[in-house]
Amino acid sequence: MATSAYDQISTIINRLEQLADLLNPVSLVEAIAQTISIVENPLPGNASELSTLASAFIGAARDAGPIGPDLHAMADQKLPDVWQGDVAVTASQVVNDAADLVQQLPPAFTYAASAIDSYAGTLTQLEAKRQELLQQLYSASHSVPNVDVFGIDIPIDPAEWSAWIGAIRNLIYGSIDLYNELQDAADILAGEFADVQSKAGAGMAVKAGMNLTDAVVLAATTVDGSGLLGNAQLTRLAEIMGAMTPAERARLDAVLAKADSPLEQAYILKALAAGNSLSRVVTFAGQIRGQSDSWLIDHLSLGGIPNELSYDGVPLIQSTQTECGSASIVAAQALSDPIFAYNLTTGPHGTPLTGTQFAAKVAAEDQATHNFTNTVWPQSLGTSPWGVAAGMNGGAAGGVGNPAGPAGYGVTWVDDTDPRNSYPALQQAISAVDAGYPVPILLAPTLGNLGNGMHYVLITGHSGNLLSIYDPEGGTITQVPESDFLNGDMQAYDQGSPHVNAVIMPGG
């Protein structure tokens, strides 16, 4: 069987809804016939072949399992310094980093296999349900009384007609549920594939033109278990480095060679990926040279405290009740651009700020951002979604380095009470997070609410089935089940504003 278009399933659902809406004694037989003609087609996909596909991932995960430790063991031996790459690294470091990357394969492939198996199980259940519905429809088609539409009135009890219409309507609704469930399962699986894809950053960076060694070292550099550069930044960095003249590249290589640690090198390259000029990056490299890993993480990732964006014990929070949007933009900038974070945490000559000074600087940045985003919209009403999009694209501090490419961030409205409406947008938001983009979302007590109770938060990460969501009200990062987000049920996260009204989407 050839593949079926996802949109075709939507068309089927619409057609069935029309049939259900227009049921009457005259249309009953035709409606059953049309429903049968739809439902008698097997569902797209093959559960048995899906299980075989899942086995391929399990087999590769099992076979690759010992290779990471073997590579680590090699790196731990005394390796002669034979490596020649564009980043100043030792052979041991490259092999250790490659070993770390190889060790990411078994969990990623096991997750993919589990996702495929789960979809296969759902497909089997839905196919059984389809066959049952089809039998009931066949049975109904043989039993339902017909009406002679050419004027001969057949006396039938109205209650009997009503019962037949109710029964057939239930069968059509059952069919609609069937195709909705298929689309839901497909949406989830597509999102899970994007999640697994996001774990292959080095391969994607090399494909985008990055040197092998750079890609391995950068992809393996993590802070709190997440890659310091997301795949989108790795790809952008590859493009920037690929477009450099030999002289520019030599200048960059020289500052990388002077860096004291792989993490220091990674922050320098992240600053470049964020869209800063090479001259600014070279200056920045000098400003952070020789700093310890913990200093770098505290100052450049605001990562001193787990599950919080903070510096010197002071969380990055909104300065006023109406600046949750502004603070979300500031947080996104700090997470995307280490030079922006450096400027938030240090004084003019690189002197580390105190926590109080940091809070004052954040407040000034929030206000500047609010001024930038609200040229028409009253500041007392917070920030409009399109204002947040503008801030993400190029706010007071230059946005998040326009990492979303020419399209930039845009507003996607969401009706989270209608799963079919919201699923694609929310799934797309998660895929954007997987690529390394911070994604602001607008929560509200009710749908379409752009006033009281409106609150922006920022999705900062996605791992397994959990989303990391930064809340500018307290500066905390909370792990939220992605199913809550996808199902439009954010009650457990925010009782007061559980509805996702809009997503500020890269490329949106």
């Binding site: 590579l71 034979v82 052979a91 490259v94 490659a98 190889v102 497909a186 699986l189 994007a194 292959a200």
Partner: protein, 105 residues
């Protein structure tokens, strides 16, 4: 060997070990690529096929990174072993030349 501070035999062993790991990775990649190369019928829906293909392509690239690193390491180690071995031979030759009064150090 000890005079130059390099264990040429050891480095050759490391090169062979790296090459063997590269072979293992290539075998895993090949088997996985073959088994996942025609998933369209299994997946059925076009959105799933395109998401799967994107994921598969990314991981094909990732496998290539693994094998390239290991191959590069193996090659570098092999070259290093050869160079050290040549240096050692030259050093031995020099020592013999000195011994026989042919070369002044």
């Amino acid at each position: 060997m000890a005079e130059l501070g390099f264990d040429v035999t050891g480095i050759r062993g490391q090169a062979a070990q790296a090459a063997a790991l590269g072979d293992d990775l290539r075998a895993i990649q090949s088997k996985w690529e073959t088994a996942t190369g025609s998933a369209a019928q299994a997946l059925g829906l076009d959105v799933l096929v395109s998401a799967f293909d994107a994921m598969r392509q990314a991981w094909t690239g990732q496998f290539t990174v693994y094998t390239d690193v290991v191959s590069k390491l193996s090659g570098h180690l092999g070259t290093a072993a050869t160079n050290y071995s040549r240096a050692e031979t030259a050093n031995t030759g020099n020592a013999e030349a000195v011994m026989h009064g042919h070369l002044r150090l």
